[in-house]
């Protein structure tokens, strides 16, 4: 265009010369906070991150307009240092949502990417998806909106997908030449073996049993954990080059280490000695402990319990025992428990499923005496401290058999002879790195002080593996600081649709009490996608473009899908981006003047 009339006519976009950033008193910054699900996961899974990948569905990046996916790093995995916090790179007075440290090559996305994200922390997704008691879902912020995201069901779906497709995990690390002995092929041991192997160490697992899996096989009934699933996930670990020696109990650990030329050991033999309580009993009274009973389910001939079975105890094992008894043909399966339901240690799902299957529960009751075909029950009452006190009222309960489910003790013999190793209240003393008093010997799972669940055990395995790896390198592991917790109050829930959780199909009870088929069904592809997409992505950007869209000053630069940079040359600090960020991933900070 030729010379324009002075002042009347102006060249387009010339206002960029006016740097309005100077007006700012507060500046928006992108943050990544710790999602409550990640925070709650005992296995330290980066749940939000794998849900983020699962959202992409089967096709993965193909559905993203064919673009290579550059997801923002889901910050703050509770897994110890599973991810690195975001550092806004300082460039030209502007901060950006930093580059990603995604755990798989960018082109990998969708379900497989999600699965591999789980595998970074937990080698047993299909099992987790069945037996985990879901602390993540209890913590989920979505519960305050409608209902928690069905994290566990998506995990199971992904685990089953992996088995269906035969996905494997490569060992990328170079061999370190170090040998590590893992005692016990339970969840903890398997987890440790898996992680150590990925780190390049040579791992040998010794287990006293005929089959690997520990409590997952000998404690959890198959209607909760089908054995083909168990075998598939264990075999995938073994396929990575882990040596497994069965029927090989370790008696003298130090001797075994020297003999095998091991550089370190992880001991996780679990706790499978059923607690015995003193109960006056007639000679012919039939009393067995739940551990033995459940273990017997894996033998050629199942235990004979009779038509009327009483189970003494209030834990998950008690529920397993009672439900198993029903399936073995018991007309009556009665759980006798000293307290009330709200004080019962067993998880709600277990209790409700048991009740559905016709199990009955005697609350506020103890077994005072056992005789053939009959139990004497004393009624209890709770004192002000909530502790059960005898009332002196008695009543009879017909029972062919009494199953004691009063908890388990660990078999500590394997460590008793090891110098330096100490014990207290029936478990092994370990440091925060899970090392015992004896250098190079680590312990985890049910035999160390912790909640006794498969998930916790798997977490121990990973934690121990990292500690052992550091120890073998003569280093001590520094645990990175945890990110701040992503609070529900920081969410702008307007942007989340009303989308209640998907209900998982359940086997009809008639079928349930006559077979050991799996009770709870899985999700199909669409429902799993639906569940994954219910994630609110608390505290971490999910690339919704809101900040980019709502800035009145075009001061948000879009670098790529889900990656932004505040242009502080023009940002006036109005705060709309922070207010309208659905997941609270932008915070306003006072300008330093």
């Amino acid at each position: 265009m030729e010379r324009k009339p002075f002042a009347i006519t102006l060249d387009v976009g010339s206002s960029r010369a006016n740097k309005t950033g100077a007006w700012r008193t507060e500046r928006p910054v992108y943050v990544s906070n710790l999602p409550p699900c990640n925070n709650a996961c005992p296995a330290g899974e980066n749940i939000q991150q794998w849900l983020y990948r699962a959202e992409e569905g089967e096709a993965g990046s193909a559905s993203l307009g064919g673009r290579p996916l550059q997801p923002p790093e889901k910050g703050g995995s509770a897994s110890l240092g599973g991810t690195t916090p975001l550092q806004p790179p300082e460039k030209s007075g502007s901060a950006s949502l930093g580059g990603t440290t995604s755990l798989q090559p960018p082109e990998k996305s969708g379900y497989e990417a999600a699965w591999r994200q789980i595998m970074a922390d937990n080698p047993l997704p299909a099992i987790m998806g069945r037996v985990c008691y879901r602390p993540c879902e209890i913590a989920c912020n979505r519960a305050q909106l409608d209902s928690a995201v069905g994290i566990n069901s998506v995990e199971r779906f992904l685990g089953d997908e992996a088995i269906r497709h035969g996905w494997q995990v490569p060992v990328d690390a170079a061999p370190t030449g170090k040998r590590v002995l893992v005692v016990g092929a339970g969840p903890s041991g398997l987890s440790a073996a898996y992680h150590l192997t990925r780190m390049g160490h040579a791992v040998t697992i010794r287990d006293a049993n005929a089959e690997p899996g520990g409590m997952m096989r000998y404690g959890i009934p198959r209607y909760r954990l089908p054995r083909d699933i168990l075998d598939a996930e264990i075999n995938r670990i073994l396929a990575m080059g882990v040596t497994l020696e069965l029927n090989a109990p370790v008696t003298d650990l130090t001797a075994t280490l020297t003999a095998g030329g091991f550089d370190a050991a992880f001991v996780a033999v679990g706790a499978h000695i059923g607690k015995r309580a003193y109960i006056p009993a007639g000679d012919s009274a039939k009393i067995i402990d739940a551990v033995t009973m459940l273990r017997g389910m894996e033998d050629s001939s199942p235990p004979l319990l009779g038509r009327r079975v009483a189970v003494y105890g209030g834990g998950n094992t008690a529920m397993d025992a009672a439900r198993t008894a029903r399936r073995l043909g018991a007309a009556d399966a009665v759980v006798v428990y000293r307290r009330t339901r709200d004080r019962m240690p067993a998880h709600d799902s277990e209790v409700s499923e048991a009740l559905e299957e016709g199990v009955t529960i005697r609350w506020l009751s103890t077994v005072a005496r056992a005789d053939q075909g009959k139990l004497l029950i004393e009624k209890m009452r709770l004192d002000e401290s909530g502790f059960p006190q005898p009332t002196g009222e008695f009543e009879d309960l017909d029972a062919d058999c009494l199953v004691l489910a009063l908890g388990q003790d660990a078999d500590l013999s394997v460590l008793e002879s090891v110098p330096g190793v100490t014990f207290s209240s029936g478990v092994v003393d370990v440091g925060p790195d899970l090392m015992t008093g004896h250098p190079g010997i680590f312990a985890g799972g049910d035999m160390v002080p912790a909640e006794r669940t498969v998930t916790v055990a798997i977490g121990h395995g990973k934690k121990a593996a990292r500690s052992i790896d550091a120890w073998l390198r003569g280093a001590t592991r520094v645990v990175p600081p945890r990110h701040g917790l992503a609070a529900a109050s920081a969410l702008n829930t307007w942007y989340y649709a009303d989308a209640p959780a998907t209900v998982r199909a359940q086997l009809d009870t008639a079928h349930r009490i006559t077979t050991f088929d799996e009770v709870t069904g899985g999700l199909d592809e669409s429902t799993a996608l639906f569940e994954a997409r219910r994630c609110l992505s608390c505290g971490n950007c999910f690339g919704c473009d809101n900040c980019y869209g709502v800035c009145p000053d075009n001061a948000v630069i879009k670098l790529g899908t889900g990656q932004y940079e505040i242009d502080y040359d023009y940002c006036k600090g109005c705060g709309i981006c922070a207010a309208e960020c659905p997941c609270g991933a932008i915070e306003m900070e006072p300008e330093q003047t």
Binding site: M1, E2, K4, P5, F6, A7, I8, T9, L10, D11, V12
Partner: protein
């Protein structure tokens, strides 16, 4: 081609030959015949233009502004109250430097409402930044429109062609209507200096603060100075192309040896020239200076034309109450130490300006017996009686109605 034709019709036909692309019209007497004729031509398909019936003069000028800024040749016409109603947009078009051409069919401004001719309307906009050309005859009215489009577009400045309402718009006269080819040759296609174009976007109409506003206004002034050079050139070119004199800055008539010169604008000049001839026959050395370009004010040309004379009569077709004549003030500025000057307010609101009255007034002026400010043919008795009424009674009532009652007129008088 020679025609006996109504002034409005002649102007409409000529404007059509200038190929305006957007015409916006809002009716007001005495402009109606012009836009009616143009509207008919567009409807018939004789004229390829957008004819827009707007809801007000304000909208008319606004539509013209939008069209012109978009590179289209825009035209509209108005008068009197209409010109005042569009006033804000009139100034805006000039400020934006948009070459809109507008006909003003000069008419008085109320109250009292009056549909007849004088120059109050155009004079009220003399400082709006528009070029103002005044036509003496229907022929000149149409000629000036041809020149107006060329001047406006060459300068990027709007032009107002003023023609006396009724006296020219409604009079049937002989006029030479040019051929389309002649007009096309004289008025080239519009090449805007600034234009709204998606392929080359610009922002037009920015807010300008103290840091540059004076300069912007100065440039408007400079553009007007430029016009003083351009207008005579265009007039000369016109004479060459159309073989007749039209336009330009000023038109002297028998001023060479004149002791007394009458200065005026518009169609009254014809009557004045007749009166002057009659007085010349009696031996009085009197001449006429017609001002064709009133804005920009051709001070130098006027100074030259009046240099010889000893006495001036400025015939004003509008009144600046409390001052007298606007043209007189401009002329005094052009001739600070000029000859004796008499301002004569004449022909307000359609009052006929007759040779008889002019002869009498000029004879008086020549004898030095004319006051500095005179109202030609003022019915002093009528006004005096109303003044007396107002002295006598506080609630004297509306003067206009009082005086009409006084006159007892129903039918219009001849003189």
């Amino acid at each position: 081609m020679l025609k006996q034709i109504e002034g409005s019709r002649a102007v409409a036909e000529t404007v059509a030959m200038c190929r305006p692309e957007v015409i916006c019209a809002y009716p007001i007497t005495p402009q109606t015949h012009i836009v009616e004729a143009l509207g008919a031509m567009v409807k018939k398909g004789d004229l390829a233009a957008e004819f827009i019936n707007v809801e007000s003069e304000f909208a008319a000028m606004s539509v013209a502004i939008g069209a012109s800024a978009s590179g289209a040749r825009a035209y509209t016409a108005t008068a009197s109250q209409g010109l005042l109603y569009m006033c804000e947009a009139v100034h805006n078009a000039a400020g934006l430097g948009l070459p809109v051409v507008m006909t003003v069919a000069n008419r008085a401004i109320g109250a009292p409402i009056n549909i007849w001719n004088d120059h109050s309307d155009a004079m009220s906009q003399r400082d709006a930044g528009w070029i103002q050309l005044y036509a003496q005859t229907s022929q000149e009215a149409l000629d000036l429109h041809i020149q107006a489009f060329r001047i406006a577009e060459e300068l990027s400045n709007p032009v107002m062609v003023c023609m006396d309402g009724f006296l020219l718009t409604h009079a049937s006269e002989r006029a030479d209507i040019p051929a389309q080819a002649q007009v096309d040759a004289f008025v080239p296609p519009y090449q805007p200096r600034q234009v709204l174009d998606p392929s080359d976007p610009v922002s037009i109409g920015a807010m300008v603060g103290p840091e540059a506003f004076t300069e912007v206004r100065y440039l408007a002034h400079a553009r007007m100075r430029e016009a003083l050079e351009l207008i005579p050139q265009v007039a000369a070119r016109f004479t060459a192309d159309f073989c007749r004199e039209s336009g330009g800055l000023v038109r002297p008539y028998r001023t060479e040896d004149a002791d007394l010169i009458v200065v005026g604008l518009g169609s009254v000049l014809g009557t004045v020239e007749d009166a002057v001839d009659e007085l010349r026959d009696t031996g009085m050395r009197v001449g006429v200076l017609g001002i064709t370009t009133y804005r920009p004010f051709p001070a130098r040309a006027i100074a030259e034309a009046l240099s010889g004379c000893g006495r001036l009569v400025v015939l004003e077709r509008a009144l600046s109450p409390g001052t007298g004549g606007m043209v007189s003030a401009d002329i005094r500025m052009a001739l600070p130490a000029g000859p004796a000057m008499h301002t004569v307010i004449a022909g307000l609101g359609g009052r006929a300006v007759t040779r008889k009255s002019l002869r009498a007034m000029l004879t008086q002026a020549a004898a030095g017996a004319l006051g500095p400010l005179t109202f030609l043919d003022l019915d002093a008795g009528l006004a005096g009686r109303e003044l007396a009424r107002m002295r006598d009674a506080r609630r004297s009532g509306p003067s206009a109605e009082n005086m009409l009652r006084d006159l007892g007129i129903s039918a219009s008088r001849i003189g």
